[in-house]
Symmetry: C2
Subunit: 471 residues, 2 copies
């Protein structure tokens, strides 16, 4: 107990430090350096508890301070104290989600929370099904698995050799997990048709494909529309897509891993209009709702389908002669056997903030994005494509007037990586960058960190200019 | 900070209580009752921090005390203080495993630990690959995915329609995740041939199948041998199986989710002789090594295969122009995008105990099993099949002399569920039961709880007799 309290003291000090803007976001070292900065090897003999405390301190010293108000690197940032407390409690309870018997409270809280999320999606009386899975990629894979099973239930026993060749549609800007899922499920990445994402033509192009593929012997079975793309934060036109899916009897999935949280905001939820027509929705509270990692939900409109799709009736785990209502033994609808308790963090934060608290937090993040957008849109040295996530190039003064477009592009491509590397070496802030299609490396600024303020946005811009001015 | 400390105080009190034998393992209530015992609903308005503390207390009140010395219900039991501290630190660091950039220390520790585990398996210089995945079922699914890709790499792009019909072999007592994986991957459950598990004929039967299936147009691609079956704790003959796999060029997987930890024990590792010939091994430190949930590793002999099998080159996540050695960006070899940090618990416990500490802990669990086995083998009213996990029937006095075998079986089938329900109502202990094949419900006693003592084993027997005497 003394040992645990000592660790807690270390953690509390780390938390205080993480929120302090004077602290570095990262104390960066190259992998080979870091391997040598401490003795990380596993030993034959035990260490003392003092050594263990030293290891804890060393681990935190070189960790990224993801709670830092100037950490913008990922879609998941920030650290909520109630969420953290809930995660500590979850670790202490140290159980699994598969049966009511071993996780009575957590199973009930998952039930209550999934129902609430389905109500927010707009499904009548919150009916349907769902599960918390280890991340959005797995949630998306579940959706594809369910879509295939719904159309061809024999695939479960007989495999893909019993079904026609399938084809799925998504946009070019969708998350890579759609292709990864298709590869794993034996559908193949080539059967995922990526459609150009311009809002106006998405629906038409999808419609065209849906009509043309059967002619080639393929059966369209799955459309994954994205609500909040990873890079731009763009939203596919859900209503138009749902019309096509309905007409051709195709499973409509909405990957709202990033944007699903906007459903909690009365101001912004229109971006997901039509989501209630989907067959399944991925929604990651560990992103814009700042629930500690991981917390990803897959919501499914049809009841019973997950169970039928995944159950194996293992009699050694899901005994049928128990004394309680077996519908609470949810484990057999999962791909996992043991499943980590991810629900309590979300449930406790929801209690602490109320629905209106989450709404305010989300609105605030989008307000900060807008502030950043407005601040740089006419500022010297910035160019940007307009989207919900604020994506932009910073052009150092020496590059602004290069006339040769190819030359300019080539040089600009190298700017973001250098600025990013410098950010990490100084440890002052972190923001992501990437190329996309024919666009060279640009910064992608996402704000999901409730600790961030207008001043932090100002700081980011100044820091980019300071670090990139000479390039 | 005050709030966090208050939660910690609640957790510390809960831990003390959990280890106290006077405390109930469970304060059991039926789902409908439990729903009414507290207000679990999510509200529009925020709750006060005092309300949140009340919710934490209520959650723990009705949770299962998995650390309790008399909790034997699952393969994962017990609570290690260093493991718990490590999990609290992990929650506080709140990051993801996909890149070195966001998890420098954790990525290195995963590298160090996987290498050590591969050395223990016996692969030269610990070479190979691996990943920590969300549970043994997913680890097993990874193995099947890799086996298929190794034999038919075109399946990634072209799906199952580009490959012949595949067939996999495992024993009838293997974990249900082998079939679940086959269903998900589009191979189909019917393509998983379950062989009778008697040690002597396993290898012969497998050999027969491997030879006969190609005649029917199937390609054998995967054998999953089990090291520690879920119910009996039995070990398949790995050397004989590896000979067949080698001869016919089939991927050999060892599902050591339960028994893999015996590799840490000089006394017991002979049960896995031949494991070093496997292509992949599942090993869950969250079971017999008592690492907090979840901590499951898949170890792979061939380097680079996981990356080739799963990578999608998402340029927005795995930028190729970063400043550091990109081999530490391990995320693209996973099926997940974000991946929870499961490594730190294992690493810190390993440091605290040393290899010899884990060995002692495992030896002790097996010693307790042996004690139980010896205690009941000649005791009135018990019958058992002999295995590593101690599986047994308790026959209440009134049933011992029933001569009609069918009648006896029928009545005996109902004994374990009633005793188990009574255990939960009294809350004194918990142990699992199940039928298997033609065997009616029997108790399965597994000891992975480091807090258990000889006296707890004695207590279990007395309690079963007390609760079942009148049946």
């Amino acid at each position: 107990m003394t040992f645990l309290q000592e660790v807690v003291d270390i953690l509390l000090a780390y938390i205080v430090e993480s929120f302090d803007r004077e602290t570095k976001v990262i104390d960066f070292h190259y992998p080979n350096e870091l391997l040598q900065l401490n003795n990380w090897e596993l030993q034959h003999e035990p260490a003392t508890l003092d050594d263990i405390l030293i290891s804890c301190r060393a681990t935190l010293k070189y960790a990224i301070k993801t709670a830092h108000p100037r950490y913008f690197n990922q879609l998941s940032t920030g650290l909520d104290m109630v969420g953290l407390a809930a995660d500590w409690l979850t670790s202490t309870a140290n159980t699994n989600m598969f049966t009511y018997e071993v996780a009575p409270v957590f199973v009930l809280l998952e039930y209550v929370t999934l129902k609430k999320m389905r109500e927010i999606i707009g499904w009548p009386e919150g009916r349907g099904d769902g599960i918390f899975s280890p991340g959005g990629a797995i949630s998306n894979m579940y959706a594809m698995l369910l879509a295939r099973f719904k159309m061809f239930p024999e695939v479960k026993e007989k495999g893909m050799s019993s079904v026609p060749r399938l084809v799925a549609f998504t946009s070019e800007h969708s998350h890579f997990s759609i292709k990864k899922g298709a590869a794993a499920l034996g559908i193949g990445t080539e059967s995922v048709i990526c459609i150009k994402p311009q809002t106006e033509i998405w629906a038409c192009a999808t419609c065209f494909c849906v009509v043309s593929f059967p002619v080639q012997g393929f059966v369209p079975f799955f459309v994954s529309a994205t609500a909040g793309t990873t890079v731009y934060g763009a939203f596919d036109p859900l209503i138009a897509i749902s019309d096509i899916c309905k007409k051709y009897n195709i499973w409509m999935h909405v990957d709202g891993a990033w944007g699903g949280s906007l459903l909690m905001s009365r101001r912004h939820r229109w971006k997901l209009d039509g989501v209630e027509r989907a067959n399944s929705v991925t929604w990651n509270p560990h992103k814009m709702m700042s629930v500690p990692l991981q917390c990803s939900a897959l919501l499914v409109r049809e009841e019973g389908l997950m169970q039928n799709c995944n159950q194996m009736h293992a009699c050694y785990l899901f005994q049928q002669d128990k004394q309680y209502d077996l519908s609470y033994d949810t484990g057999d609808k999962a791909l996992q056997c043991g499943r980590h308790v991810d629900i309590f963090k979300l449930w406790l934060m929801w209690r602490a903030k109320g629905t209106i608290g989450f709404e305010a937090q989300i609105d605030r993040c989008l307000e900060l994005s807008e502030y950043l957008y407005n601040k740089i849109k006419d500022r010297d040295g910035y160019e940007m494509p307009q989207h919900t996530n604020v994506c932009f190039w910073y052009l150092p003064p020496g590059m602004r007037y290069i006339e040769d477009k190819d030359e300019k592009k080539k040089r600009l491509h190298k700017v973001a990586p250098v600025i990013k590397a410098r950010m990490m070496e100084y440890g002052t802030t972190m923001v992501s960058y990437q190329p996309q299609g024919d666009k060279v490396n640009f910064f992608r600024m996402v704000i999901s960190n409730p600790a961030a303020t207008f001043e932090d946005i100002d700081f980011l811009i100044e820091e980019i200019e300071r670090l990139g001015h000479d390039l």
